[in-house]
């Protein structure tokens, strides 16, 4: 019985450009001499470096430990020496640096001791921990730590596990080739996820423009004796979006406020499944992935590359043509322009496209929105991009949020169909960034207010405590020697003569600001205190003198400034 398929709203059919890079089998990229491994390659906590400069590391050794639960460890992709732990150009549209470990490969490619495990005999918690420490993240591009997705919802029973092999973006073929060549690994990985989540069905969704992959996966499922369904889904971008694939395969729409597990569905990419299998069965952490090299290159092909290989080393494998002017990471719909060739390949890198003006002509100028509504018809999330656009453009972010800006997956369908060539996604990204920035500021302000209020409260309390202490001391003195204190401090003496603490508190509190030392106690303490005080004063005076000398030296270096402001 053929599986009943559902459909999602809108979507587009861009030219796929997928045939060039699937002619050759997956190649194994040569190990470069220098690898740059960024520590923060996942959504969530930043892994902390756990190696030191000059350390020798082995292939698969942890170099960054996971920070908190939603985080994933980072490993050395080969054996070699740690040459630097410093900020390096990040594989990110900003062109900003990120803390990275630079490893000089020694060419031996020597593995750390690998510990294969029999996960079936382990507690699910320890399997999840193992996957976190193996650095497993979603390899479809979102890089969300996979172990955090491997717990079923407590309320809803898990019904379907979706393995995502749709790969809907143009140019990208890494999942296609992986399914063709390593179907067994994917099926076994899906088996691991199945055992952890215990769904009723496992559905493997593949776009129908990949018949070879579908055949290979069916064969692999049959060979493994599993009951997984391999389902061809119609080719329509973005069928590979998690929510879209779930709705095509199961008919379930995941509401914006919920996670897919709340609906009894969970979705993983095929490459994530195969990496999970390798992590548990061979003890190999995530240190390499398959990356498509496509576009304006002589030899488009898929390569298995060590994570941390620089884009420069990688593109050399495909010989870019002379008119290549920039490189994109990801597909042409959702990818971004790389800030430089020194950026490394990371867990999120699925495809590098060499772009030329011929392949990607510069966009025509933006024209005014004509309110045609094409974008709303194309939006797979059934949003109203034209409304979002007006609000984002007018910086009316509250309204944009009301129109569910944060449900936008930035797939680019709206911009693709816009007859006015408005870069809608850029506006949405800008609006999201601004909203996040404001949230951050607001949180910071709130915590500052809380600290300020706490500090004021503490100051008050300390003042009250000090006053009480002084009052008690005064009361004690007065009780010991009522006559002396009476002559020394007539104001404090009368209530203190009868030991009544409450009255003494008020008296001392009144006395405290005017006379810092309590009468009677002062003479004994003065000797020590003044000496300590003198030493301290001398030290501060010396420091002030030093500072003044430094200032004068600085002023002397700039005679003009010194003339205008001699004191400063």
């Amino acid at each position: 019985m053929p599986h009943k398929l559902f459909r999602f709203n809108g979507g587009v059919k861009p030219a796929t450009h997928k045939t060039d890079s699937v002619r050759a089998p997956i190649g194994r990229a040569p190990m470069p001499e220098r690898l740059v491994v960024p520590l923060h390659q996942n959504i969530g906590g930043k892994p902390q470096p756990c190696v030191a400069l000059g350390d020798r590391v082995l292939k698969g050794q942890v170099i960054g430990t996971a920070d908190h639960w939603v985080s994933a460890a980072v490993h050395a992709p080969t054996s070699g020496t740690v040459r630097a732990i410093e900020p390096q150009l990040a594989t990110h549209p900003s062109g900003l640096p990120t803390l990275s470990v630079v490893i000089e490969a020694d060419g031996k490619d020597e593995w750390i001791e690998r510990r294969p495990v029999d996960y079936a005999s382990m507690a699910p918690e320890s399997v999840r921990e193992l996957l976190r420490d193996a650095g497993l993240v979603g390899l479809g591009g979102a890089v969300f730590p996979s172990h955090a997705k491997l717990s079923a919802s407590k309320k809803t029973p898990m019904e379907e596990l979706v393995i995502n092999g749709a790969e809907c973006e143009p140019f990208i073929t890494c999942d296609d080739m992986l399914m063709r060549e390593r179907g067994e690994e994917i099926v076994r990985g899906a088996g691991i996820f199945r055992d952890l989540l215990e769904p009723k069905r496992v559905l493997i969704g593949i776009e129908d423009n990949k018949p070879e992959a579908i055949a290979a996966m069916r064969e692999a499922v049959a060979a493994a004796g599993e009951s997984f369904e391999v389902i061809a889904v119609p080719t329509r971008y973005p069928a590979g979006g998690a929510k879209q694939l779930i709705s095509v395969l199961t008919g379930k729409e995941v509401p914006s406020s919920k996670r897919s597990t709340d609906m009894g569905v969970q979705c993983f990419n095929v490459a994530t499944a195969s990496s999970a299998y390798r992590a548990l069965t061979f003890g190999e952490p995530l240190i390499s992935r398959i990356v498509t090299l496509a576009g304006n290159v002589e030899q488009p092909r898929n390569w298995e590359v060590p994570l941390g290989m620089t884009i420069r080393d990688f593109i050399a494998l495909g010989t870019p043509r002379a008119d290549t002017n920039r490189y994109l990471m990801g597909g042409p719909m959702m990818g971004f322009e790389l800030p430089g060739l020194d950026a490394p390949l990371i867990k999120a890198s699925n495809c590098i496209i060499a772009a030329s003006p011929k392949l990607f002509p510069p966009p025509p100028p933006e024209m005014p929105c004509i309110r045609c509504g094409s974008c709303a018809r194309a939006c797979p999330h059934e949003l109203q991009p034209f409304e979002l656009y007006w609000f984002s453009r007018a910086a009316n972010f509250g309204k944009a949020q009301e129109y569910h800006l944060f449900d936008c997956i930035e797939c680019g369908c709206c911009a693709f169909v816009c007859p006015s060539h408005i870069p809608l996604v850029q506006y949405f990204r800008y609006a999201k960034g601004e909203i996040w920035g404001r949230e951050r500021d607001k949180k910071a302000a709130e915590s500052a207010r809380a600290r300020f209020e706490f500090r004021n409260e503490r100051d008050e309390r300390e003042k009250a405590e000090k006053a009480e202490r002084l009052a008690r001391a005064a009361a004690a003195k007065a009780a010991d020697n009522p006559l002396a204190s009476a002559t020394a401090a007539p104001t404090a003496a009368s209530p203190a003569a009868t030991p009544a603490p409450a009255a003494a508190v008020t008296a001392a509190a009144a006395a405290a600001p005017t006379s810092p030392a309590v009468p009677g106690e002062a003479p004994a303490a003065t000797g020590e205190a003044s000496e300590a005080e003198r030493a301290r004063k001398a030290m501060i005076a010396a420091a002030v003198e030093r500072a003044r000398a430094q200032r004068e030296a600085a002023a002397a270096a700039r005679p003009h400034d010194a003339a205008t402001s001699p004191e400063q």
Partner: protein
């Protein structure tokens, strides 16, 4: 007949008066809600640049109508705009220069451990002990500059907060206008 009308009116007045009196006690709002709303907009740097000893007193002064809405430099023009919207007033240009966000940094070579800056910091963002090196907890610093003056050795400097991957934002699309032929 007239007496009934008077009695009914009197009864109504008593009932309504009692219910109003009850509501005034039962649903009493602690503090001034307007002050809190204004305080929520202010950036909580507690810097005193507005002339009030903290954000809350300034908020109270605005609520009472004693202070203008454009006295908060850390809040910037954006903050003035928000206050104007909340209070239904005309937005005004800021009565000071707008500065990019800064945080304090203590020069470790020069710090003498006098604790004066710790006492001055309104948001507990400086840690240290007497005669021990002090340091600013960077994420907590609001850039109020209140620690600069008390330092006897002038070892505190303000540094602008640069762009990093944590606070980077997508820029709005920019297009160059083209002259029509």
């Amino acid at each position: 007949m007239m007496i009934y009308a008077i009695l009914i009116m009197a009864l109504g007045a008593v009932v309504l008066g009692a219910s109003l009196g009850f509501a005034a006690v039962k649903f009493r709002v602690e503090g001034d809600p307007l002050t809190d709303k204004i305080d929520a907009i202010l950036p909580q740097t507690q810097c005193g640049q507005c002339g009030y000893p903290g954000c809350k007193p300034y908020a109270a002064a605005i609520a009472k109508g004693e202070a203008d809405i454009n006295l908060c430099p850390p809040g910037g023009a954006d903050g003035v705009q928000k206050l104007a919207e909340l209070l239904g007033r005309e937005a005004k240009p800021l009565d000071a220069e707008e500065k990019p966000k800064q945080t304090a940094l203590i020069d470790e070579q020069r710090c003498i451990g006098c604790t004066l800056c710790i006492q001055a910091c309104p948001v507990d963002a400086i840690v240290g002990a007497a005669k021990q090196l002090h340091t600013v907890v960077d994420p907590l610093c609001t850039g109020c500059e209140l620690c600069l003056k008390p330092c006897p050795v002038e070892c505190i400097a303000m540094n602008p907060v640069g762009e990093s991957l944590d606070n980077w934002k997508w820029k709005p699309p920019v297009f160059t206008l083209q002259r029509q032929a």
